[in-house]
Subunit: 209 residues, 2 copies
DNA sequence: CTTTGCATTAACAAAATTGTTAAATAAAAT
DNA sequence: ATTTTATTTAACAATTTTGTTAATGCAAAG
């Protein structure tokens, strides 16, 4: 009878509680006792399964690092499509991925900002794959410029703009909610509008005029 | 002879060291002993002048809260100028203020994200002044739209776009440096380009087409 | 010059937080 | 059934971090 119910192991519960705690408070602000309490276990259990706070943190980072790469990849769009569609779809897909993981950006940006050395492996790996995609995308953009389809653009600059527009609303949300309550009150609706706005901004940026 | 040299009191040195520590590590990650060491005093001195870590933190927040408001105000531009110039100047002035205080955005956004209740006073105050300016600016934008000068826009949406574009590069810098070393290596030059890019994006967004 | 008040230090205390261990319990394998 | 292995608990230990205090030094005011 316990076979059906007890699908989630305590080990799993701890990891999930840790994720929430680390995402909201960061490594320094997280408390292992709070994590244990949230998971509904004694804090000795936490150490039994993960030994140290550091190792538990590493597990959380590992579990989510792939999503960052996935988001970046998605942002590059589908190479088969024409550049304009490709960019539009890239922005959209990237935005949707953040909606699915809204706490990730603030967490990673802040932890990397506070302890950059810790993340050299992650950022190096990210940089390698990104730069390949950048040169490929730049070639395609240049070709489109030659054909008179779009303005001449630096795709890396465009990429930064896209990241800024897509990520920032999620970082500023707690603050924004207090300032623009009416606009940001209905989160679903706000995000929908925001996504459209971001696409509009980038489309207008590359539009030939 | 000590009159000329000892211009900076230890109290001041502690506050400055605290600022750096809190800005880089956040409240939770900051260590009062590290602050004292950086200031070149014993950690008892820190408690002598500021009693607790919390109070020291509050002093740092107080000292910098005004800058946030100042930046927001600057972003609204000069009401005397026509709307297009007003927006252009607003973005530029806002960007320059962040250049002068590059660690502020990440600090405040993260602390507010982690402990929102703590900042209700600050955000309420910010919200009050901002909303007045928003309605005033929206009226002006609507008038310009009537005259066929610009597209119809929601100035609050435009404001979020502007904040995103101006602030995000400073938050992502530690990560970006590792990924786009060539582009972001020369910080001065990168920021100059980035500022121009942000203005271009917003100008194109409002341009009648 | 001496008294008063502020600045400074060193040593100590308290609390919070992480981590350990040995014993108890439950589950699984033989 | 019994042995073995994994899980769980409670109590404890170590460390880190914040905060206090009492004694000392020092500079300015009277």
């Amino acid at each position: 009878m316990t076979q059906e119910q007890e699908k989630v192991s305590k080990e799993q519960l701890i990891l999930e509680a840790a994720e929430y705690e680390f995402f909201t408070k960061g490594f320094a602000g997280a408390r292992t006792t709070t994590i244990a309490k949230r998971a509904g276990v004694t804090h000795a259990m936490l150490h039994y399964y993960y030994r140290t706070k550091e190792q538990l943190f590493e597990r959380v980072v590992e579990k989510n690092a792939a999503t960052i790469g996935q988001a970046m990849l998605a942002a590059m769009g589908n190479p088969a499509k024409p550049i304009i569609e490709r960019l539009r779809d890239g922005i959209s897909a990237h935005f949707d991925l953040i909606v699915a993981h809204p706490m990730l950006p603030r967490f990673f940006l802040n932890e990397i900002g506070a302890y950059p050395e810790r993340y050299n492996l992650l950022t190096d790996h990210l940089g390698a794959t990104a730069n390949k995609l950048f040169t490929e995308l730049q070639d395609e953009a240049d070709a489109a410029t030659e054909r008179g389809e779009i303005e001449q653009v630096d795709v890396r600059m465009l990429f930064i703009s896209m990241l800024s527009l897509n990520i920032f609303p999620f970082i500023v949300y707690p603050l924004g909610q207090n300032i623009m309550t009416d606009m940001m009150g209905d989160k679903e609706h706000f995000l929908e509008r925001r996504k459209a706005e971001n696409i509009e901004l980038i489309m207008r940026r590359i539009k030939k005029q």
